[in-house]
Symmetry: D3
Subunit: 67 residues, 6 copies
């Protein structure tokens, strides 16, 4: 029953990166919290940087400002 | 004010299936919890099977493993 | 892997009501969307009416206004 | 650390609208709750009207019913 | 149908602060995105600072580090 | 901007366990996805086992059934 929701800004991670996140985060919850491996459910959501605001400004604009 | 968020792995349900889920889940919350029908808000989100991990492995790979 | 999050305003439902919601919502997702029963995970969260706003006003105040 | 998730029905807002929401909601949390501006994280998610149910019916159908 | 979820670290805001947030965030979504006022649903959740991690460390410890 | 929400069934983890989860999950997102450490925000929510349903039954009852 651990449910994990991970929301990130694009670009979309590769399949290998997502699979590695599933593996490691699950392993952490099993080892540290004693949860059952097969019960751990993780959703990775990649959002457009223009749809995420940090400090009142979109991540898209913040990234442009850093160029 | 009941807010319901339903996250599932693809494939995307049909319009008929989604409408049936809206109807039945709303009916359950009204009858069982006594909530007002017009107040029930439900979001159905369909996620790519590669973006969901269960037991440390993506649902995409688990489905391949079952073929 | 269906994940369902149900957020409602208090009062807290009884155990029987919660169990009935788990049963019915799971049954709907299995029958209508063809999901596996054992894969359906549902969280019911009861929030204080003062922590929920609808139409710019707390549910707590809206309920008082109706008395 | 304020995390804000805003889910709306399409059509997708413009960049200017999203940026204005980031600006105003952040400003509200800073002024009213005393939170630090740079700590405020906001996700805006636009969902298809057919994926949202209100009162047991999809927003898509409700909008058609109003034409 | 705008659904807004606001998660913050304690201490719990006062009723007046929460009501002001409901009012202002709703007003922003109505004016900026053209949403219907009565359709806007907002949940404010206050979490213990020990249950929130930023930069790999709990907000609780980060706050202690600043004293 | 990575936002992570971890929902688990009680009992409540200890402070050391939560801090270890913050540390490890943040480290994974930094190393595997290349995210900035200070941008990673994690909420751990512990829910009563009676408020979580898996396979149509509460986790509370499932745990009793295993005794």
């Amino acid at each position: 029953m651990p449910y994990v929701n991970i929301k990130i800004a694009g670009p979309e991670p590769t399949k290998e990166q997502k699979d590695q996140v599933f593996k490691e985060v699950t392993e952490t919850l099993v080892r540290v919290l004693g949860k059952k491996k097969e019960a751990v459910m993780i959703f990775i959501e990649t959002h457009d940087a223009g749809n995420i605001g940090v400090g009142g400004e979109s991540v898209e604009d913040k990234r442009k400002g850093m160029k």
